[in-house]
Symmetry: C2
Subunit: 234 residues, 2 copies
DNA sequence: GCAATAGTGTCTATTAGACATTATGGC
DNA sequence: GCCATAATGTCTAATAGACACTATTGC
């Protein structure tokens, strides 16, 4: 027996997609083309389809609204935002927010329902988003800062092969403070299940300097690593 | 403009309520009185009301189905489970799971839609729940084990005033392994923002032995503590 | 006295953090 | 040679873990 007199909901997904741009943590936002909040910045997202997995909906909306290919990017549920007054529209809209990280910070292309899609530094966009998206962004920011402590997620900001200097740059961008290069080297090289050497080495960024060893992440983005890389200890 | 041709959802909340019983981690489950899964164990939960906050719905369902008073218990969103086939019924039902901890492991009273409500050791109930509730329980178990590392949540398993032996018992029950009493003392006493002494002391459990100092938690359940109490380091 | 539990001391091995030093390239 | 970056070494302070020891109660 199924009661059909329970309240009905519309369900959306929103995606907080982070990347590293110019040494800063950047987030992908769209300019809304429709009411409510037309003209405001918002997180990409949209309605969950019939019979669609939540995480698949997040991936699809990302492609549709921004042209960013969701294949191969680290994507995980963040939390659900369901305050009764969070959407101005007549029906109640609950959103399952997702956290994602990409190495491809290429220019997005505005798609359906969006006038524009751009990467912006998180510090610039904080406090200026539609709906409760500022709150979602704040949660996502804290989550990613926390996740890179005990998973390999930081590597998802980089190409498959990278140097320790690049990886350190990710930690610095996410945490917002500099890290001692020497200690970072030792700590990450000692971590048992994070990095594996490719044997190759590349010239450093400026062209000058000793070539750096090239590494690969040896697991999946959200896999736990043996010894955490703690914020407090960097 | 609001499109009314988007899919509609039913939204439920489920609650994983943990307590400590006989030195073990116990979870509150109900025996379902209605189809689907009538007669099976399940987590307490139910449909979110019109205009109701998600966390309030979780609290309400807990009271309705088990008689457990939701006031004053640590309750937090866990994650949302929305696989298209997770409910056998015709409409899609998405559930926002919540994690809760209580010090009152008193006998629950079966309420609406439930034939019985009982506390069971988590090890006994794992693998025997309706819907995808085994998966939810597994997530909750991992979350609580993780939360007590860097918050004061462990104190929520105990009365407002407690001894370090009692608190150690909580960690042992949740993590499932014994902890050195001496080292635990030193570690927790040194933690800057977890405990405050009441000045009182009480006789130990068996009646025999040196009286133990009585403490209070000095913050809210999910507040971060300064120096984490790491599983790996206990 | 003994048993039991609370709490402290001690030693070792590991680790973070600061910072100096060496290594390897471009110019 | 100089400069820049990569990588290693060194020292100190803090901490986990094992375990011995002392303290305070009931019997």
């Amino acid at each position: 027996m199924f009661h059909s007199d329970f309240p009905i909901f519309y369900l959306t997904v929103d995606v907080v997609l982070f990347a590293q741009r110019d040494g800063e943590l950047a987030v992908l936002v769209v300019e809304r083309g429709e009411e409510p909040y037309a003209g405001s910045w918002a997180l990409p997202g949209g309605f969950v389809g019939d019979g669609e997995e939540l995480v698949d909906a997040a991936r699809r909306e990302l492609v549709e609204e921004t042209g960013i290919d969701g294949e191969g990017l680290a994507l995980e549920q963040l939390r659900t935002f369901g305050a009764p007054d969070r959407d101005r529209r007549p029906h109640r809209v609950v959103s399952v927010a997702h956290l994602a990280v990409t190495r491809h910070a290429e220019a997005p292309t505005a798609g359906t329902d969006a006038r524009a899609a751009v990467w912006l530094p998180v510090d610039e966009v904080a406090g200026r988003l539609a709906f409760d998206h500022d709150e979602i962004l704040a949660h996502a920011r804290e989550r990613v800062a926390s996740k890179i402590e005990y998973t390999q997620l930081a590597a998802s900001f980089l190409p498959p092969e990278f140097t320790l200097a690049q990886l350190r740059g990710v930690y610095e961008a996410v945490w917002g403070h500099p890290i001692d290069p020497g200690n970072f080297q030792r700590k990450l090289r000692a971590a048992p299940d994070f990095l594996e050497s490719t044997g190759a080495s590349v010239k450093p960024a400026g062209g000058r300097g000793r070539p750096a060893e090239v590494f690969r992440a040896c697991g999946r983005p959200f896999d736990r690593i043996g010894s955490p890389v703690l914020r407090s200890a960097m």
